[in-house]
Protein backbone atom coordinates (compact mmCIF):
# COMPACT_ATOMS: atom_id res chain seq x y z
CA UNK A 1 0.00 0.00 0.00
CA UNK A 2 2.89 2.29 0.90
CA UNK A 3 4.44 1.59 -2.50
CA UNK A 4 1.22 2.44 -4.30
CA UNK A 5 1.00 5.80 -2.55
CA UNK A 6 4.64 6.58 -3.31
CA UNK A 7 4.03 5.62 -6.90
CA UNK A 8 1.11 7.99 -7.15
CA UNK A 9 3.17 10.81 -5.66
CA UNK A 10 5.89 10.13 -8.18
CA UNK A 11 3.48 10.34 -11.12
CA UNK A 12 2.00 13.54 -9.73
CA UNK A 13 5.50 15.03 -9.46
CA UNK A 14 6.31 14.16 -13.07
CA UNK A 15 3.07 15.71 -14.29
CA UNK A 16 3.70 18.74 -12.08
CA UNK A 17 7.12 19.19 -13.65
CA UNK A 18 5.57 19.12 -17.09
CA UNK A 19 2.77 21.48 -16.25
CA UNK A 20 4.43 24.04 -13.95
CA UNK A 21 5.61 26.26 -16.84
CA UNK A 22 2.18 25.95 -18.42
CA UNK A 23 0.61 27.20 -15.23
CA UNK A 24 2.97 30.18 -15.30
CA UNK A 25 1.82 31.00 -18.82
CA UNK A 26 -1.82 30.69 -17.85
CA UNK A 27 -1.22 32.97 -14.87
CA UNK A 28 0.44 35.49 -17.19
CA UNK A 29 -2.62 35.54 -19.42
CA UNK A 30 -4.55 37.03 -16.51
CA UNK A 31 -1.82 39.51 -15.62
CA UNK A 32 -2.89 43.15 -15.99
CA UNK A 33 0.73 44.30 -16.42
CA UNK A 34 2.23 43.99 -19.87
CA UNK A 35 5.54 42.86 -18.45
CA UNK A 36 6.35 39.21 -18.08
CA UNK A 37 7.89 39.75 -14.69
CA UNK A 38 5.52 42.07 -12.85
CA UNK A 39 2.15 41.09 -11.44
CA UNK A 40 -0.29 43.95 -12.08
CA UNK A 41 -3.51 42.36 -10.85
CA UNK A 42 -6.12 40.12 -12.40
CA UNK A 43 -7.65 40.97 -15.74
CA UNK A 44 -9.55 39.37 -18.58
CA UNK A 45 -8.79 42.15 -21.04
CA UNK A 46 -6.19 40.16 -23.03
CA UNK A 47 -8.84 37.60 -23.88
CA UNK A 48 -11.03 40.39 -25.15
CA UNK A 49 -8.33 42.16 -27.17
CA UNK A 50 -7.23 38.81 -28.55
CA UNK A 51 -10.33 38.61 -30.71
CA UNK A 52 -9.93 42.20 -31.87
CA UNK A 53 -6.46 41.66 -33.28
CA UNK A 54 -6.76 40.78 -36.95
CA UNK A 55 -3.08 39.80 -37.12
CA UNK A 56 -3.51 37.18 -34.40
CA UNK A 57 -6.79 35.87 -35.80
CA UNK A 58 -5.34 35.42 -39.26
CA UNK A 59 -2.22 33.80 -37.79
CA UNK A 60 -4.42 31.31 -35.93
CA UNK A 61 -6.19 30.55 -39.19
CA UNK A 62 -2.91 30.03 -41.03
CA UNK A 63 -1.42 27.94 -38.24
CA UNK A 64 -4.42 25.63 -37.95
CA UNK A 65 -4.90 25.30 -41.70
CA UNK A 66 -1.22 24.59 -42.13
CA UNK A 67 -1.16 22.04 -39.33
CA UNK A 68 -4.31 20.29 -40.58
CA UNK A 69 -3.29 20.21 -44.23
CA UNK A 70 0.31 19.24 -43.63
CA UNK A 71 -0.67 16.53 -41.15
CA UNK A 72 -3.33 15.18 -43.53
CA UNK A 73 -1.05 15.13 -46.56
CA UNK A 74 1.75 13.65 -44.46
CA UNK A 75 -0.67 10.95 -43.27
CA UNK A 76 -1.69 9.98 -46.80
CA UNK A 77 1.85 9.89 -48.13
CA UNK A 78 3.15 8.37 -44.92
CA UNK A 79 0.52 5.62 -44.94
CA UNK A 80 1.19 4.54 -48.52
CA UNK A 81 4.91 4.87 -47.91
CA UNK A 82 4.71 2.66 -44.83
CA UNK A 83 2.85 -0.03 -46.77
CA UNK A 84 5.43 0.16 -49.53
CA UNK A 85 8.41 0.17 -47.20
CA UNK A 86 6.93 -2.71 -45.24
CA UNK A 87 6.87 -4.81 -48.39
CA UNK A 88 10.47 -4.02 -49.23
CA UNK A 89 13.52 -6.22 -48.91
CA UNK A 90 15.60 -5.68 -45.80
CA UNK A 91 18.23 -3.60 -47.60
CA UNK A 92 15.78 -1.23 -49.30
CA UNK A 93 13.85 -1.06 -46.07
CA UNK A 94 16.93 0.18 -44.24
CA UNK A 95 17.78 2.71 -46.93
CA UNK A 96 14.25 4.10 -46.75
CA UNK A 97 14.39 4.35 -42.97
CA UNK A 98 17.70 6.17 -43.24
CA UNK A 99 16.23 8.85 -45.50
CA UNK A 100 13.16 9.03 -43.32
CA UNK A 101 15.39 9.90 -40.40
CA UNK A 102 17.24 12.74 -42.13
CA UNK A 103 14.72 15.52 -41.45
CA UNK A 104 14.75 14.44 -37.81
CA UNK A 105 18.54 14.49 -37.59
CA UNK A 106 19.20 17.80 -39.28
CA UNK A 107 19.30 21.04 -37.34
CA UNK A 108 16.13 22.99 -38.12
CA UNK A 109 17.99 26.00 -39.38
CA UNK A 110 19.89 23.91 -41.91
CA UNK A 111 16.71 22.24 -43.15
CA UNK A 112 15.00 25.62 -43.33
CA UNK A 113 17.70 27.41 -45.29
CA UNK A 114 18.36 24.43 -47.58
CA UNK A 115 14.66 24.22 -48.42
CA UNK A 116 14.49 27.96 -49.00
CA UNK A 117 17.46 27.86 -51.39
CA UNK A 118 15.77 25.05 -53.26
CA UNK A 119 12.23 26.50 -53.36
CA UNK A 120 13.55 29.77 -54.71
CA UNK A 121 14.51 27.97 -57.89
CA UNK A 122 11.03 26.92 -58.91
CA UNK A 123 8.26 28.38 -56.80
CA UNK A 124 7.41 31.65 -55.08
CA UNK A 125 7.58 31.56 -51.31
CA UNK A 126 4.16 31.73 -49.78
CA UNK A 127 1.72 29.52 -47.97
CA UNK A 128 2.35 26.59 -50.31
CA UNK A 129 6.12 26.58 -49.75
CA UNK A 130 5.60 26.44 -45.99
CA UNK A 131 3.10 23.65 -46.50
CA UNK A 132 5.58 21.59 -48.52
CA UNK A 133 8.24 22.17 -45.86
CA UNK A 134 5.89 21.11 -43.07
CA UNK A 135 4.79 17.99 -44.94
CA UNK A 136 8.48 17.17 -45.39
CA UNK A 137 9.27 17.18 -41.70
CA UNK A 138 5.91 15.65 -40.79
CA UNK A 139 6.07 12.51 -42.92
CA UNK A 140 8.80 10.85 -40.81
CA UNK A 141 6.67 11.15 -37.69
CA UNK A 142 3.75 9.52 -39.48
CA UNK A 143 5.87 6.70 -40.88
CA UNK A 144 7.51 6.07 -37.54
CA UNK A 145 4.06 5.80 -35.98
CA UNK A 146 2.52 3.54 -38.64
CA UNK A 147 5.40 1.21 -39.47
CA UNK A 148 5.66 -0.39 -36.01
CA UNK A 149 1.89 -1.02 -36.08
CA UNK A 150 2.20 -2.65 -39.46
CA UNK A 151 4.87 -4.98 -38.17
CA UNK A 152 2.89 -6.19 -35.19
CA UNK A 153 -0.22 -6.62 -37.31
CA UNK A 154 -1.54 -9.97 -38.37
CA UNK A 155 -1.22 -9.82 -42.14
CA UNK A 156 -3.04 -13.16 -42.52
CA UNK A 157 -6.39 -11.44 -42.06
CA UNK A 158 -5.70 -9.33 -45.08
CA UNK A 159 -4.61 -12.34 -47.09
CA UNK A 160 -7.65 -14.29 -45.97
CA UNK A 161 -9.90 -11.50 -47.19
CA UNK A 162 -8.12 -11.53 -50.53
CA UNK A 163 -8.48 -15.30 -50.77
CA UNK A 164 -12.17 -14.94 -50.12
CA UNK A 165 -12.42 -12.73 -53.17
CA UNK A 166 -12.11 -9.19 -51.80
CA UNK A 167 -10.29 -6.77 -54.08
CA UNK A 168 -7.05 -5.57 -52.53
CA UNK A 169 -8.48 -2.07 -52.31
CA UNK A 170 -11.56 -3.36 -50.47
CA UNK A 171 -9.45 -5.47 -48.14
CA UNK A 172 -7.19 -2.49 -47.58
CA UNK A 173 -10.07 -0.24 -46.55
CA UNK A 174 -11.92 -2.87 -44.52
CA UNK A 175 -9.08 -4.69 -42.81
CA UNK A 176 -5.81 -2.78 -42.89
CA UNK A 177 -7.12 0.72 -42.27
CA UNK A 178 -9.11 -0.13 -39.11
CA UNK A 179 -6.12 -2.00 -37.72
CA UNK A 180 -3.75 0.83 -38.54
CA UNK A 181 -6.13 3.53 -37.31
CA UNK A 182 -4.44 4.04 -33.93
CA UNK A 183 -1.07 4.43 -35.66
CA UNK A 184 -2.48 6.80 -38.27
CA UNK A 185 -4.20 8.77 -35.58
CA UNK A 186 -1.05 9.01 -33.48
CA UNK A 187 0.95 10.03 -36.54
CA UNK A 188 -1.58 12.69 -37.43
CA UNK A 189 -1.55 14.01 -33.90
CA UNK A 190 2.26 14.11 -33.73
CA UNK A 191 2.48 15.79 -37.14
CA UNK A 192 -0.18 18.33 -36.20
CA UNK A 193 1.65 19.17 -32.98
CA UNK A 194 5.04 19.46 -34.67
CA UNK A 195 3.63 21.74 -37.33
CA UNK A 196 2.00 23.95 -34.68
CA UNK A 197 5.26 24.22 -32.77
CA UNK A 198 7.72 24.83 -35.58
CA UNK A 199 9.32 28.20 -35.95
CA UNK A 200 12.69 28.04 -37.72
CA UNK A 201 11.69 26.13 -40.84
CA UNK A 202 8.50 28.15 -41.21
CA UNK A 203 10.42 31.38 -40.92
CA UNK A 204 12.79 30.64 -43.77
CA UNK A 205 10.24 29.14 -46.14
CA UNK A 206 7.38 31.59 -45.70
CA UNK A 207 6.49 34.45 -47.98
CA UNK A 208 5.42 37.95 -47.02
CA UNK A 209 2.08 38.30 -45.32
CA UNK A 210 2.01 34.66 -44.23
CA UNK A 211 2.34 34.43 -40.48
CA UNK A 212 1.93 31.53 -38.13
CA UNK A 213 1.62 32.01 -34.39
CA UNK A 214 5.27 31.06 -33.96
CA UNK A 215 6.60 33.62 -36.40
CA UNK A 216 4.28 36.21 -34.90
CA UNK A 217 5.54 35.49 -31.39
CA UNK A 218 9.15 35.50 -32.51
CA UNK A 219 8.72 38.93 -34.10
CA UNK A 220 7.40 40.19 -30.79
CA UNK A 221 10.34 39.08 -28.67
CA UNK A 222 12.21 42.23 -29.53
CA UNK A 223 9.62 44.55 -28.09
CA UNK A 224 8.14 42.29 -25.45
CA UNK A 225 5.64 39.54 -26.06
CA UNK A 226 2.06 40.69 -26.20
CA UNK A 227 -0.05 39.28 -23.35
CA UNK A 228 -2.66 38.33 -25.97
CA UNK A 229 -0.30 35.51 -26.91
CA UNK A 230 -0.46 34.06 -23.42
CA UNK A 231 -4.23 34.32 -23.54
CA UNK A 232 -4.29 32.56 -26.89
CA UNK A 233 -2.00 29.75 -25.72
CA UNK A 234 -4.09 29.24 -22.61
CA UNK A 235 -7.23 29.17 -24.70
CA UNK A 236 -5.76 26.59 -27.07
CA UNK A 237 -4.62 24.57 -24.11
CA UNK A 238 -8.06 24.53 -22.52
CA UNK A 239 -9.77 23.64 -25.79
CA UNK A 240 -7.50 20.63 -26.20
CA UNK A 241 -7.94 19.73 -22.55
CA UNK A 242 -11.72 19.74 -22.93
CA UNK A 243 -11.42 17.67 -26.10
CA UNK A 244 -9.28 15.22 -24.16
CA UNK A 245 -11.85 14.91 -21.40
CA UNK A 246 -14.63 14.32 -23.93
CA UNK A 247 -12.58 11.65 -25.72
CA UNK A 248 -11.81 10.08 -22.37
CA UNK A 249 -15.46 9.92 -21.36
CA UNK A 250 -16.61 8.53 -24.69
CA UNK A 251 -13.78 6.00 -24.61
CA UNK A 252 -14.96 4.89 -21.21
CA UNK A 253 -18.42 4.26 -22.61
CA UNK A 254 -16.89 2.37 -25.41
CA UNK A 255 -16.89 -1.32 -24.70
CA UNK A 256 -14.00 -1.91 -27.08
CA UNK A 257 -11.52 -0.49 -24.68
CA UNK A 258 -9.12 -3.31 -25.20
CA UNK A 259 -8.85 -2.11 -28.78
CA UNK A 260 -7.40 1.18 -27.66
CA UNK A 261 -5.24 -0.36 -25.02
CA UNK A 262 -3.51 -2.26 -27.74
CA UNK A 263 -1.39 0.78 -28.48
Amino acid sequence: MMGKALGKIYIVLVVLFMYAPIMVLIALSFNASKSRVIWGGFTLKWYRTLFESSAIISAIGTTLLLALLSAAIACIIGLTASLGIYAMKKRDYKIMLFFTNIPLLNADIVTGIALMLWFVKFMPLGFSSVLVAHVTFNIPYVILCILPKLETMDIRQFEAARDLGATSFYAFVKILIPDLMPGIFAGFFMAFTMSMDDFVITYFTKGPGVNTLSTLIYGEIRKGIKPEMYALSSLLFFIVLIMLIIVNISARDNKDKSDLAAY
Binding site: P21, I109, V240
Partner: protein, 273 residues
Protein backbone atom coordinates in the same frame (compact mmCIF):
# COMPACT_ATOMS: atom_id res chain seq x y z
CA UNK B 1 0.18 -10.23 -51.04
CA UNK B 2 2.15 -9.26 -54.10
CA UNK B 3 5.11 -7.49 -52.58
CA UNK B 4 6.30 -5.82 -55.74
CA UNK B 5 2.95 -4.23 -56.36
CA UNK B 6 2.69 -3.02 -52.81
CA UNK B 7 6.11 -1.46 -53.00
CA UNK B 8 4.77 0.82 -55.73
CA UNK B 9 2.77 2.55 -53.01
CA UNK B 10 5.92 4.15 -51.67
CA UNK B 11 6.62 5.96 -54.94
CA UNK B 12 4.97 9.26 -53.93
CA UNK B 13 7.05 9.23 -50.80
CA UNK B 14 10.25 8.38 -52.64
CA UNK B 15 9.60 11.28 -55.01
CA UNK B 16 8.96 13.51 -52.02
CA UNK B 17 12.15 12.39 -50.31
CA UNK B 18 14.19 13.05 -53.45
CA UNK B 19 12.54 16.40 -54.03
CA UNK B 20 12.58 17.81 -50.54
CA UNK B 21 15.13 15.87 -48.52
CA UNK B 22 17.86 14.67 -50.84
CA UNK B 23 18.16 17.71 -53.09
CA UNK B 24 18.27 20.22 -50.20
CA UNK B 25 20.83 17.94 -48.56
CA UNK B 26 22.95 18.13 -51.71
CA UNK B 27 22.79 21.92 -51.39
CA UNK B 28 24.16 21.63 -47.86
CA UNK B 29 26.91 19.22 -48.89
CA UNK B 30 27.86 21.48 -51.79
CA UNK B 31 28.08 24.49 -49.49
CA UNK B 32 30.09 22.56 -46.94
CA UNK B 33 32.66 21.38 -49.47
CA UNK B 34 33.26 24.75 -51.11
CA UNK B 35 34.51 28.12 -49.93
CA UNK B 36 32.97 31.54 -50.48
CA UNK B 37 34.48 31.69 -53.99
CA UNK B 38 32.95 28.34 -54.87
CA UNK B 39 36.21 26.36 -54.92
CA UNK B 40 36.41 22.91 -53.45
CA UNK B 41 37.86 22.74 -49.94
CA UNK B 42 38.00 20.47 -46.93
CA UNK B 43 38.41 23.45 -44.62
CA UNK B 44 34.80 23.58 -43.43
CA UNK B 45 34.32 19.86 -43.17
CA UNK B 46 37.33 19.72 -40.88
CA UNK B 47 36.41 22.90 -39.02
CA UNK B 48 35.02 20.76 -36.21
CA UNK B 49 38.60 20.21 -35.02
CA UNK B 50 39.03 23.89 -34.31
CA UNK B 51 39.36 24.14 -30.49
CA UNK B 52 36.32 26.41 -30.15
CA UNK B 53 34.12 24.09 -32.18
CA UNK B 54 35.49 20.96 -30.54
CA UNK B 55 34.72 22.38 -27.14
CA UNK B 56 31.17 23.24 -28.20
CA UNK B 57 30.68 19.75 -29.64
CA UNK B 58 31.92 18.14 -26.44
CA UNK B 59 29.63 20.29 -24.34
CA UNK B 60 26.69 19.52 -26.64
CA UNK B 61 27.33 15.78 -26.42
CA UNK B 62 27.74 16.03 -22.66
CA UNK B 63 24.51 17.98 -22.05
CA UNK B 64 22.52 15.89 -24.52
CA UNK B 65 23.78 12.72 -22.84
CA UNK B 66 22.95 13.96 -19.34
CA UNK B 67 19.50 15.05 -20.50
CA UNK B 68 18.85 11.66 -22.10
CA UNK B 69 19.93 9.82 -18.96
CA UNK B 70 17.77 12.00 -16.72
CA UNK B 71 14.84 11.43 -19.07
CA UNK B 72 15.34 7.66 -18.76
CA UNK B 73 15.60 7.92 -14.98
CA UNK B 74 12.35 9.86 -14.83
CA UNK B 75 10.46 7.84 -17.44
CA UNK B 76 11.32 4.30 -16.50
CA UNK B 77 10.01 4.30 -12.94
CA UNK B 78 6.96 6.18 -14.16
CA UNK B 79 6.31 3.47 -16.74
CA UNK B 80 6.74 0.72 -14.14
CA UNK B 81 4.36 2.45 -11.75
CA UNK B 82 1.77 2.92 -14.47
CA UNK B 83 2.15 -0.74 -15.43
CA UNK B 84 1.64 -1.98 -11.89
CA UNK B 85 -1.34 0.36 -11.56
CA UNK B 86 -2.86 -1.51 -14.51
CA UNK B 87 -3.46 1.80 -16.20
CA UNK B 88 -4.19 0.56 -19.66
CA UNK B 89 -5.51 3.60 -21.44
CA UNK B 90 -2.25 4.88 -22.85
CA UNK B 91 -4.05 7.22 -25.21
CA UNK B 92 -4.91 9.47 -22.29
CA UNK B 93 -1.33 9.40 -21.06
CA UNK B 94 -0.15 10.27 -24.53
CA UNK B 95 -2.47 13.25 -24.57
CA UNK B 96 -1.26 14.41 -21.20
CA UNK B 97 2.35 14.16 -22.33
CA UNK B 98 1.87 15.94 -25.65
CA UNK B 99 -0.56 18.58 -24.44
CA UNK B 100 2.13 20.99 -23.15
CA UNK B 101 3.55 21.11 -26.66
CA UNK B 102 0.48 23.01 -27.74
CA UNK B 103 1.80 25.99 -25.88
CA UNK B 104 4.31 27.67 -28.11
CA UNK B 105 7.87 26.44 -27.66
CA UNK B 106 9.41 29.88 -27.13
CA UNK B 107 6.73 30.81 -24.61
CA UNK B 108 7.34 27.58 -22.68
CA UNK B 109 11.06 28.18 -22.43
CA UNK B 110 10.45 31.76 -21.32
CA UNK B 111 8.12 30.32 -18.67
CA UNK B 112 10.89 28.04 -17.41
CA UNK B 113 13.15 31.06 -17.23
CA UNK B 114 10.54 32.81 -15.09
CA UNK B 115 10.43 29.80 -12.79
CA UNK B 116 14.13 29.38 -12.14
CA UNK B 117 15.61 32.87 -12.49
CA UNK B 118 17.14 34.71 -9.56
CA UNK B 119 13.93 36.55 -8.69
CA UNK B 120 11.85 33.75 -10.13
CA UNK B 121 8.80 31.91 -8.87
CA UNK B 122 10.74 29.05 -7.28
CA UNK B 123 13.06 31.37 -5.39
CA UNK B 124 10.06 33.35 -4.15
CA UNK B 125 8.48 30.16 -2.84
CA UNK B 126 11.75 29.06 -1.25
CA UNK B 127 12.21 32.39 0.51
CA UNK B 128 8.68 32.22 1.89
CA UNK B 129 9.52 28.77 3.25
CA UNK B 130 12.96 29.96 4.46
CA UNK B 131 14.69 27.26 2.47
CA UNK B 132 17.55 29.16 0.86
CA UNK B 133 17.82 30.01 -2.80
CA UNK B 134 18.67 28.31 -6.05
CA UNK B 135 21.09 29.97 -8.42
CA UNK B 136 21.05 27.88 -11.56
CA UNK B 137 19.91 30.24 -14.28
CA UNK B 138 22.55 30.86 -16.97
CA UNK B 139 24.38 27.64 -16.09
CA UNK B 140 24.49 24.29 -17.90
CA UNK B 141 22.09 22.96 -15.24
CA UNK B 142 19.41 25.36 -16.45
CA UNK B 143 19.92 24.17 -20.02
CA UNK B 144 19.61 20.54 -18.92
CA UNK B 145 16.38 21.35 -17.10
CA UNK B 146 15.04 23.00 -20.24
CA UNK B 147 16.00 20.04 -22.42
CA UNK B 148 14.58 17.47 -20.03
CA UNK B 149 11.39 19.47 -19.77
CA UNK B 150 11.03 19.85 -23.49
CA UNK B 151 11.95 16.34 -24.59
CA UNK B 152 10.58 14.22 -21.75
CA UNK B 153 7.49 13.26 -23.78
CA UNK B 154 9.75 11.77 -26.48
CA UNK B 155 11.19 9.44 -23.85
CA UNK B 156 8.04 8.72 -21.89
CA UNK B 157 5.98 7.60 -24.85
CA UNK B 158 8.23 4.84 -26.29
CA UNK B 159 9.32 3.63 -22.85
CA UNK B 160 5.74 3.47 -21.67
CA UNK B 161 4.66 1.64 -24.78
CA UNK B 162 7.39 -0.89 -24.43
CA UNK B 163 6.91 -1.54 -20.73
CA UNK B 164 3.14 -1.85 -21.02
CA UNK B 165 3.54 -4.31 -23.87
CA UNK B 166 5.48 -6.76 -21.66
CA UNK B 167 3.00 -9.57 -20.92
CA UNK B 168 2.21 -10.00 -17.25
CA UNK B 169 2.52 -13.78 -17.71
CA UNK B 170 6.26 -13.52 -18.20
CA UNK B 171 6.66 -11.59 -14.97
CA UNK B 172 4.41 -14.05 -13.13
CA UNK B 173 6.37 -16.95 -14.55
CA UNK B 174 9.59 -15.34 -13.37
CA UNK B 175 8.16 -14.90 -9.89
CA UNK B 176 6.92 -18.47 -9.81
CA UNK B 177 10.40 -19.62 -10.67
CA UNK B 178 11.67 -17.79 -7.63
CA UNK B 179 12.94 -14.49 -9.00
CA UNK B 180 12.92 -11.68 -6.47
CA UNK B 181 11.75 -8.15 -7.27
CA UNK B 182 15.27 -7.13 -8.16
CA UNK B 183 15.73 -10.05 -10.51
CA UNK B 184 12.40 -9.45 -12.17
CA UNK B 185 13.59 -5.93 -12.89
CA UNK B 186 17.09 -6.70 -14.10
CA UNK B 187 16.45 -10.01 -15.82
CA UNK B 188 13.00 -9.51 -17.29
CA UNK B 189 11.71 -5.95 -17.36
CA UNK B 190 14.83 -4.04 -18.39
CA UNK B 191 15.99 -6.43 -21.13
CA UNK B 192 12.50 -6.46 -22.60
CA UNK B 193 12.18 -2.67 -22.65
CA UNK B 194 15.63 -1.90 -24.04
CA UNK B 195 14.26 -1.15 -27.51
CA UNK B 196 11.89 1.46 -26.08
CA UNK B 197 14.68 3.05 -24.06
CA UNK B 198 16.85 3.00 -27.18
CA UNK B 199 14.33 4.86 -29.30
CA UNK B 200 13.66 7.23 -26.41
CA UNK B 201 17.34 8.06 -26.12
CA UNK B 202 17.53 8.72 -29.85
CA UNK B 203 14.47 10.93 -29.75
CA UNK B 204 15.85 12.97 -26.85
CA UNK B 205 19.51 12.97 -27.81
CA UNK B 206 19.08 14.16 -31.39
CA UNK B 207 17.13 17.36 -30.77
CA UNK B 208 19.23 18.13 -27.67
CA UNK B 209 22.34 17.99 -29.85
CA UNK B 210 21.08 20.46 -32.44
CA UNK B 211 19.19 22.74 -30.07
CA UNK B 212 20.06 26.43 -29.76
CA UNK B 213 17.02 28.32 -28.49
CA UNK B 214 17.03 26.63 -25.07
CA UNK B 215 20.74 27.30 -24.64
CA UNK B 216 20.24 30.92 -25.65
CA UNK B 217 17.41 31.68 -23.28
CA UNK B 218 18.29 29.54 -20.26
CA UNK B 219 22.06 29.71 -20.64
CA UNK B 220 21.99 33.48 -20.85
CA UNK B 221 24.12 33.34 -23.98
CA UNK B 222 27.11 32.36 -21.86
CA UNK B 223 27.16 28.75 -22.91
CA UNK B 224 27.84 27.83 -26.47
CA UNK B 225 26.61 24.57 -27.88
CA UNK B 226 27.37 23.48 -31.41
CA UNK B 227 23.78 24.31 -32.37
CA UNK B 228 24.36 27.90 -31.28
CA UNK B 229 27.51 28.18 -33.36
CA UNK B 230 25.78 26.79 -36.44
CA UNK B 231 22.89 29.16 -35.96
CA UNK B 232 25.28 32.09 -35.53
CA UNK B 233 27.17 31.15 -38.68
CA UNK B 234 23.95 31.13 -40.66
CA UNK B 235 22.11 34.07 -39.23
CA UNK B 236 24.78 36.44 -37.92
CA UNK B 237 28.24 35.80 -39.37
CA UNK B 238 26.63 34.74 -42.66
CA UNK B 239 29.34 32.20 -43.26
CA UNK B 240 27.04 29.60 -44.80
CA UNK B 241 29.93 27.43 -45.88
CA UNK B 242 31.20 27.03 -42.35
CA UNK B 243 27.64 26.64 -41.06
CA UNK B 244 26.95 23.88 -43.58
CA UNK B 245 30.28 22.18 -42.83
CA UNK B 246 29.60 22.15 -39.12
CA UNK B 247 26.03 20.96 -39.48
CA UNK B 248 27.12 18.17 -41.77
CA UNK B 249 29.63 17.01 -39.17
CA UNK B 250 26.97 17.29 -36.52
CA UNK B 251 24.64 15.22 -38.66
CA UNK B 252 27.21 12.49 -39.12
CA UNK B 253 27.87 12.52 -35.41
CA UNK B 254 24.18 12.28 -34.58
CA UNK B 255 23.81 9.50 -37.14
CA UNK B 256 26.50 7.45 -35.43
CA UNK B 257 24.80 7.89 -32.08
CA UNK B 258 21.47 6.89 -33.56
CA UNK B 259 22.99 3.77 -35.01
CA UNK B 260 24.53 2.94 -31.64
CA UNK B 261 21.31 3.29 -29.69
CA UNK B 262 18.80 2.36 -32.35
CA UNK B 263 20.75 -0.54 -33.81
CA UNK B 264 17.69 -2.69 -33.76
CA UNK B 265 15.33 0.07 -34.84
CA UNK B 266 14.50 -1.94 -37.95
CA UNK B 267 12.95 -4.53 -35.69
CA UNK B 268 11.89 -2.00 -33.15
CA UNK B 269 8.16 -1.85 -32.95
CA UNK B 270 8.02 1.16 -30.73
CA UNK B 271 10.04 3.81 -32.40
CA UNK B 272 7.81 6.67 -31.47
CA UNK B 273 4.67 5.42 -29.89
Amino acid sequence: MNKNRVQVLSIPYILWVIGFTVIPLIFVVAKAATNAEGDFTFEYLLAIFDPVHRKALLLSVCLAFISSVICVLISYPAALILKSAKFKDTKIIMFIMILPMWMNFILRILAIQLLISKNGVINHLLSVLHLGQIDIINTPIAIVIGMVYDYLPYMLLPVLNCVLAIPDDIIEAGKDLGAGKFHVLTKILIPLSLSGIGSGITMVFVPSMTEFVIANILGGGKIQLLGNIIEQEFSVSMNWNLGSGLSLTLMIFVLITTLLFGRNSANNRNFVL
